[in-house]
């Protein structure tokens, strides 16, 4: 009966109970729904960020990042490969690249681009540039000398098509302007059109030939299976590498993305606080009304010998029922409202330009992290119980004589 009485008390005024329960449901639903959406955005930004050639970490020759020219390439990539082989955990992948700023041009157009020479077989495990990204033509193969992969957006900008030629001009290792005509062998698609305009890919051999480079490498990119270990692994690699190299994690390479993800976490926290405040005042208000209406009854119970702590327990129990039901229903509605978005995603095409500036894909899929849900439920449950203490203590403090005088 300890638990039956608070339950029945809830339904003395069903409308009031349902209103406060609705507030809890809306609060929990919004926390679950928005946190899943925000986490989806955050993960999407992260995945886009690291897949666009960044990886979890990169290794460069000292000075390359401030002046990314071919002269700042690594002259002895073998020692880096050896350190990577010794250091990387199982499941980690790496690829080396030659990367220079260049000019692409055809008969009608020219544009500044990033010219990237890759090992096609290794690159496909590390970045977005893989056979699946090629929408027309074919992916690169080792030793391809004349074929080039261009983005769909660049192809459209240059008003050209697959099979046509495109000329790449860049400064070679001798400081001379080198140029070479490549045939468009494939067109890649990316989540972001800026990526399609920015990068062109050739095999590493083709890049070496154009840039008159013997064994030099611009960068090593590493993709880890467990992204959370990036700082630890980067530290280990840096320790083992000889002087003259720099190891940078994605946090150094993409400071904007780091700021965005931190902001999203902050936004979630602010939203939790807003929900807590709105819901907390609602609960206090409703339970205070419920308690003041029953002050005479609490006084009678104290006269019969009920201890104050039992009164507090009863009021907390009433609040617990409201919160628990609200949380369960809020979670269910949250999951139901997310279910279609897990399938189709949230289409941000209408805001494509803004979304792309933030490094977001056109379609965002929510990501439900059980920890977020547990946190939301815990925040609501414990904050709700915490604010209930006030009306509960008010009820417990009344003396029987005072209570009996109330009409």
């Amino acid at each position: 009966m300890h638990f039956k009485l608070p339950w029945r008390n809830l339904w003395r005024n069903p409308r009031r109970t349902l209103i406060i329960m609705a507030a809890v449901i809306i609060g929990v639903w919004s926390m679950v729904f928005l946190s899943a959406l925000m986490r989806g955005m955050s993960e999407n930004m992260f995945e886009n960020g690291i897949s666009i050639l960044t990886g979890d970490l990169q290794i460069h020759q000292k000075g390359y990042r401030s002046d990314p020219v071919i002269e700042n390439s690594m002259s002895n990539p073998g020692e880096v490969k050896r350190v990577l082989a010794e250091t990387l955990p199982e499941g980690a992948r790496w690829a080396s690249r030659i990367r220079v700023n260049a000019i692409a041009q055809n008969a009608r157009h020219s544009a500044g681009i990033t010219f990237v020479g890759v090992d096609p077989d290794k690159e496909k495990y590390v970045s977005f540039i893989k056979p699946a990204a090629v929408s027309e033509g074919k992916y690169l193969s080792e030793g391809d000398q004349r074929r080039i992969l261009v983005g769909k957006a660049l192809l459209e900008k240059f008003e050209t098509r697959i099979g046509h030629k495109i000329v790449i001009m860049a400064q070679d290792t001798n400081g001379e302007i080198a140029s070479k005509a490549f045939r468009i062998g494939g067109v890649f698609r990316s989540e972001l059109s800026s990526t399609e305009k920015q990068y062109v890919f050739v095999s590493k051999d083709a890049a070496k030939e154009l840039l008159r480079l013997s064994s030099g490498i611009s960068e090593f990119a590493v993709l880890l299976e467990d992204h959370k270990r990036v700082d630890q692994i980067a530290g280990r690699i840096a320790e083992k590498l000889p002087e003259g190299y720099e190891v940078h994690t994605w946090k150094d390479l993409l400071p904007m993305m780091k700021a965005w993800t931190a902001m999203i976490d902050g936004f979630n926290l602010i939203w939790y606080v807003v929900v807590f405040i709105a819901m907390g005042f609602g609960i206090i208000n409703t339970l205070l009304m419920a308690v003041y209406e029953r002050m005479r009854e609490f006084g009678m119970l104290k006269a019969l010998g009920m201890k104050p702590v039992w009164i507090i327990r009863n009021v907390l129990c009433e609040s617990f029922y409201i919160l628990f039901l609200g949380i369960v229903i809020g979670d269910i509605i949250g999951l139901l409202s997310l279910a279609p978005l897990f399938q189709s995603g949230l289409d941000l095409s209408a805001m494509a330009v803004g979304a792309e500036m933030a490094g977001l894909s056109r379609v965002i899929f929510p990501s439900l992290n059980p920890n977020d849900m547990i946190l939301a439920n815990t925040v609501v449950l414990f904050s709700g119980l915490l604010v209930t203490l006030y009306p509960a203590v008010e009820a417990a403090r009344i003396t029987p004589v005072e209570a009996m005088m109330k009409t």
Partner: protein, 227 residues
């Protein structure tokens, strides 16, 4: 055997800026098994005295000793414990818990005492049978008449075998026939179980039933008569 002793008890209330002397030097002794009434006009101090005997309030001066327990030496928790096990209350407005049935209302006191469920249920039903509500176990207070509700309140007051039952104007909201039936019931319980009943009242019928009448006037015992 003395069950209640009031020794030089005074109580002053503050009403705004005015101090009201509700009781002045009240000395009263009540023996076990008495069926007595505290009578007097409104504001005379009879409810105040009843509250002090029940441990719901503490005297400003003097001592209240109930069943050998000196209230001045007890903390609120000990007073609550004493009320729970030794004192039953019957209120003018019945004061039943509206969301509990008749039998649950009676059981609730035993629940607070920590009695096991089976014992609670059996005893609550037996007591309700005794007060003539054997067919109303599952009725909620709003499904019972005033007289029936007050019988449930009496059942709740006696279910834990208290030493004293304090009844504050128990017949005030009842018609004379129902009130008469209730008093007959309480008298029967008093005689059968030797429970001390103390009423505060200005109902003539209650006074007629009472074996002892203590008239309170202006916060003092004006007259103490035994029949």
């Amino acid at each position: 055997m003395k069950i209640v002793e009031s020794i030089n008890v005074s109580k002053t209330y503050q009403q705004g800026k005015v101090a009201v002397n509700a009781l002045k030097n009240v000395n009263l002794t009540i023996e076990k098994g008495e069926f007595m009434a505290l009578a007097g006009p409104s504001g005379s101090g009879k409810t105040t005295l009843l509250n002090l005997i029940g441990g719901l309030d503490l005297p400003g001066e003097g001592k209240i000793i109930v069943n050998g327990n000196d209230y001045s030496k007890m903390n609120p928790s000990q007073l609550a414990e004493l009320r729970l096990f030794k004192i039953g209350f019957v209120f003018q407005a019945y004061n039943l818990i509206p969301v509990l049935s008749a039998v649950e209302n009676v059981e609730y006191v035993m629940l607070l005492q920590g009695a096991p469920e089976k014992e609670r249920k059996e005893k609550a039903e037996r007591i309700l049978d005794e007060v003539g509500l054997g067919d109303k176990y599952s009725r909620r207070p709003n499904e019972l008449s005033g007289g029936q509700q007050q019988r449930v309140a009496v059942a709740r007051a006696i279910v834990s075998n208290p030493a004293i039952v304090l009844a504050d104007e128990p017949t005030a909201n009842l018609d004379s026939k129902t009130g008469d039936g209730l008093l007959t019931l309480m008298k029967k319980i008093n005689e059968k179980k030797q429970v001390t009943f103390i009423f505060s009242t200005h109902d003539r019928m209650v006074m007629e039933y009472a074996a002892r009448m203590v008239h309170i006037r202006d916060g003092q015992v004006a007259e103490d008569t035994k029949k």
